[in-house]
C-alpha cells in the first residue's frame, strides 16, 4: 500500500480513537459538570442526611447548580456537615437561603435542594446555610403515622 494512504488511514484511526474518548468524556460521563470553571463553597448542617452521597447534585428550582463535595460528621453538635460546590455563575443566593435533602422520585437519588430567601445579603464562599431541613426517613414517617392512627383511633 502507498505510504500516503497508510498514513491517512492511521491518522483517521487515531482521530476516531480520540473522538471516541472525547465522546465518552463529554456525552457519556459528567465531565462537563465537574471540570466546569470556577466555583464557590457552601456548607450546611443537617440533623439527618440519610442516603445523601458525595457528588449528589445541588439544585435551585430544580436546576442543578453544583455538587456535594464532602459529607462529614460533627461530633460536638451531632450534626452532619455537607459541603457543596456551587458554580460561580450562580452567586446570587440570598443569605437566608434554606437547604433541604430531597429525593428525586419515589426511589430515586437524594439531592440537596436550595430555596432562596429574601435577604439582600448574598451567600459567599465558605458561608454556612442556617436554615436546613433534614432528609425524610421513611421509617420515622411510618412510625409517626401509626402512632397518630393509634392515638386517634381511641376517639
Amino acid at each position: 500500500m502507498q505510504a500516503r494512504t497508510l498514513e491517512i488511514w492511521v491518522g483517521l484511526f487515531v482521530a476516531a480513537g480520540f473522538a471516541a474518548l472525547f465522546l465518552l468524556a463529554m456525552q457519556v460521563s459528567n465531565l462537563t459538570m465537574v471540570g466546569g470553571g470556577s466555583s464557590y463553597l457552601l456548607k450546611a448542617r443537617f440533623e439527618n442526611i440519610a442516603g445523601l452521597k458525595v457528588r449528589a447534585p445541588v439544585t435551585v428550582a430544580g436546576v442543578p447548580v453544583g455538587r456535594v463535595t464532602a459529607i462529614t460528621y460533627d461530633s460536638d453538635t451531632y450534626q452532619a456537615v455537607v459541603s457543596m460546590r456551587i458554580e460561580a455563575q450562580y452567586n446570587k443566593l440570598p443569605d437566608d437561603t434554606s437547604a433541604s435533602v430531597l429525593t428525586s422520585g419515589l426511589v430515586g437519588e437524594k439531592y440537596v435542594g436550595l430555596e432562596p430567601g429574601g435577604d439582600t445579603e448574598m451567600l459567599k464562599n465558605g458561608s454556612v446555610i442556617k436554615l436546613t431541613q433534614s432528609s425524610l426517613v421513611l421509617e420515622n414517617l411510618i412510625g409517626k403515622f401509626l402512632f397518630s392512627k393509634a392515638s386517634g383511633g381511641g376517639k
Binding site: L6, G17, V28, S29, M33
Partner: protein, 260 residues
C-alpha cells in the same frame, strides 16, 4: 513418585525460565522504544496493521454487544419500572468492563495471533538471524514498533468499542423499545463519572494492551522455528492472552471498585 516430582520441577523451572526470558525481552523492547522516534514510518505501518485493520471487527462487535445489552437489560429493567436507567447501565457495563475486556479478547484473536505468526515465521525463515548478520537489531527493528503499535492501538480501540456500543444500545433502547431519549442520556451523564468510570476503563485497556502485545511479541520471538512451533506459539498467544486479560481484569476491578 520421584519421576512425577522431577517432571513437576522441570515444568516449574521451564515456566520460570520463560517468564524470565519474557521479562528480559520486554526490557530490551522498552530500551528500543526511543530509537523509534527516528523511524516513525515503522510505527505507522504497525499501527495500521494492528489498529486500523482491527477497526472493522471492533466496530461491528461493539455495535452488536450494545444492541444485545439494550434488549437484555431492557427486559430486566422494565419489570421494575426502571427502564429509564437503561442508559447508565449500558454505559457503565461497556465503559468499565466490556469495552476493555472484549476489545482485548478480540485484539488477541485478530492482531495478537497475526503478530505471533508473523514474527515466528520471520524466525523460522531466518529473517531475524539475517538482520543480526547485517548488524540490525531485530528487537529494535521488528519487535519494538509492533509492541508500541499495539499499546497505542488498544485504548483507542476500546474507546471506539465503548462509544459504538453506547450508540448500539441507544438504537435498540430508544429507537426500537421506546425508552425516553432524554432520560437515556441524562441519567447516563449523571451516573457515569469521568474519573471513576471512564478513566479507570482507559487504564484497564492500556494494561491489557501492554500485556496482549507483550505476550504476542514474546511468543513469536520465542517460537520453535518450525511450522509446528509457529502454529503452537500462535495458539498459546490467544490462550495466554485471554487468560491473562480475564485474570488481570479481576485484579484491576478489585483494586478499582472493590474498596470504596
Amino acid at each position: 513418585m520421584l519421576g512425577r516430582l522431577q517432571s513437576l520441577g522441570h515444568w516449574a523451572l521451564g515456566t520460570f525460565e520463560r517468564l524470565g526470558r519474557a521479562s528480559t525481552l520486554l526490557l530490551s523492547i522498552l530500551a528500543g522504544l526511543p530509537g523509534l522516534l527516528l523511524r516513525p514510518r515503522l510505527l505507522i505501518q504497525q499501527t495500521f496493521s494492528i489498529g486500523v485493520l482491527s477497526l472493522l471487527i471492533i466496530v461491528v462487535s461493539g455495535w452488536f454487544v450494545g444492541m444485545v445489552l439494550g434488549f437484555q437489560l431492557y427486559n430486566t429493567l422494565v419489570d421494575f419500572g426502571a427502564d429509564a436507567s437503561l442508559g447508565p447501565v449500558i454505559a457503565l457495563t461497556l465503559v468499565r468492563e466490556l469495552g476493555p475486556v472484549v476489545t482485548a479478547l478480540l485484539f488477541a484473536g485478530r492482531a495478537g495471533s497475526a503478530l505471533t505468526a508473523e514474527i515466528g515465521l520471520m524466525k523460522a525463515t531466518e529473517q531475524l538471524s539475517g538482520m543480526e548478520m547485517m548488524a540490525v537489531d531485530p528487537i529494535k527493528r521488528v519487535l519494538a514498533p509492533r509492541f508500541l503499535g499495539g499499546v497505542i492501538s488498544m485504548p483507542l480501540l476500546a474507546a471506539i468499542f465503548s462509544i459504538v456500543g453506547v450508540y448500539g444500545g441507544y438504537f435498540v433502547g430508544v429507537g426500537l423499545l421506546g425508552v425516553d431519549k432524554g432520560s437515556y442520556w441524562a441519567q447516563m451523564q449523571s451516573m457515569v463519572d469521568f474519573h471513576d468510570d471512564v478513566l479507570n476503563g482507559i487504564i484497564k485497556s492500556v494494561v491489557f494492551g501492554v500485556v496482549a502485545t507483550w505476550i504476542a511479541v514474546f511468543e513469536g520471538y520465542d517460537a520453535v522455528p518450525t511450522s509446528e512451533g509457529v502454529s503452537r506459539a500462535t495458539t498459546r498467544t490467544v490462550v495466554h492472552t485471554s487468560l491473562a486479560v480475564l485474570g488481570l481484569d479481576f485484579v484491576l476491578t478489585a483494586l478499582m471498585y472493590g474498596v470504596s
